[in-house]
């Protein structure tokens, strides 16, 4: 085995991680929104609403939603940018994009563009977007630093990056309860509602392997962003990192 990286708690060959993550999301795509509601008791909607409210996106803006999956953020960004703006939903996973396309059509939305792309080599020109957003996607990437550099590259000067991701719980007591919930209940809920315990075991493990708030902030600044701050939600279960290309 050559260079390795983590896939949940397993160490795997760097070249294999992308395929393994693809397998997880192929498997969960059908029930993704339902499982998000079940696992977070609907709270993921508030986290996403907060992310969009703090993105400073305005009418006429061009927004890229990376790892946009089933399109719930893209729908809200589209409301913000209006008819004079543009929203592009990208995801590396075809099954998730397919769910996103269906979901947007169900909402009567036909003017969001879909791009199947790897976040580590984004097929967009430099200085293109006013806002780049990634929600619950960064932790699944093999080379997060490269992806952050790509996001920096395609943002306009003064453009804003929003990263919504699971993070480090602030309170020790709550952390223990959260661990208990994540490792015992979440995989079982995955088995019950999506007939897939293993993928949800990976999701719980991948959260623990993701960099904490301060580490991610340093990574964002190292990628070239001039300003970065984060805001913990639900006691740090998730954090929103907001960065500006200066």
């Amino acid at each position: 085995m050559g260079k390795t990286t983590h896939f949940g708690y397993q160490q795997v060959d760097v070249d294999k991680k992308q395929g393994l993550v693809k397998g997880v999301f192929d498997s969960v795509a059908d029930n993704y929104d339902l499982m998000n509601d079940v696992m977070s008791l609907g709270t993921h909607r508030l986290w996403k609403n907060y992310t969009i409210a703090s993105s400073n996106v305005a009418e006429g803006d061009k927004v890229l939603d990376i790892a946009g999956g089933t399109g719930d953020l893209a729908i809200k960004y589209r409301e913000k940018v209006g008819p004079s703006g543009q929203v592009i939903l990208s995801d590396i996973n075809g099954s998730m994009l397919e769910e996103g396309r269906k979901n947007l059509l169900d909402h009567g939305i036909i003017d969001v563009e879909f791009v199947q792309a790897n976040a580590e080599s984004l097929p967009f020109e430099d200085n293109t977007f006013d806002c780049v957003s990634i929600a619950f996607g960064l932790r699944n990437l093999t080379h997060k630093n490269i992806a952050l550099e790509q996001m920096h590259r395609i943002l306009k000067k003064g453009g804003c990056l929003m990263v919504l991701e699971f993070s480090k719980v602030e309170n020790e007591m709550l952390e223990k309860l959260y661990d208990l919930y994540s490792f015992n209940l979440i995989p079982k809920l995955g088995g019950l509602f999506a007939d897939d315990e293993q993928s949800y075991q990976y999701l719980a493990e991948s959260i623990r392997k993701h960099p904490d708030q301060e580490t991610l902030k340093t990574m964002v600044l190292d990628a070239g962003f001039g300003l970065c701050e984060y805001h913990n939600l639900s006691a740090g279960i998730v954090a929103v990192h907001k960065a500006i290309k200066t």
Binding site: L46, A53, L227, K242, I244, T246
Partner: protein
């Protein structure tokens, strides 16, 4: 949440009143009031402002340090030159740029009591707020618009979208 509120208020003001922020474009302005442990950073870009927590790294184009009296005067729309003369303020960088930010903040009719309460506790904040309200009787019309816009945004943020849509459909 208060920085988000401040950011939304200022951006609403810039958009609805077509305020020209060209002179502030790509400028980073730090504003701190040590007595309140208040440290904010304003970044202007693409006709909007980002309000963030002041960070340690990086250089600001303008760094404004105020005492609490000067902070109060800022919300009254005071001139920075007068404040500098009376030693109430310390500015590193362009005074003109600092004044442009101050003018924008003064226009926003921000509830200073609410803003400062996060840093000082309610009693001091209330006293400060009372003083500001005495001198701030202008721009009532704009204030209503800002409050309405914020109310809508925060409703969308805090209420499930489907409920929010239902509420809006039944009230308009």
């Amino acid at each position: 949440m208060f920085r988000l509120t401040l950011e939304k208020t200022l951006n609403h003001l810039i958009n609805t009143n077509n305020i020209d922020t060209e002179g502030l474009n790509n400028k980073i302005i730090g504003l701190s009031v040590d007595e309140f442990n208040l440290r904010l950073l304003f970044m202007f870009a693409n006709s909007r402002v980002f309000v963030m927590r002041m960070h340690d790294q990086g250089n600001f184009d303008v760094d404004i340090k105020l005492n609490k009296t000067a902070f109060l005067y800022l919300f009254k729309g005071a001139s920075f030159e007068e404040l500098i003369e009376s030693d109430e303020i310390d500015i590193n960088g362009s005074v003109k740029t600092a004044q442009q930010l101050a003018d924008l903040i003064a226009l926003a009719s921000i509830d200073v009591e609410e803003l400062v309460s996060h840093y000082t506790g309610d009693i001091i904040a209330h006293q400060l707020g009372k003083s500001v309200k005495l001198v701030k009787g202008k721009a009532n019309k704009d204030k209503v618009n800002i409050v309405e816009a914020l109310k809508n945004d925060l409703t969308t943020l805090l209420v499930a979208p489907s409920r929010s849509r239902f509420f809006n459909n039944n009230t308009h």
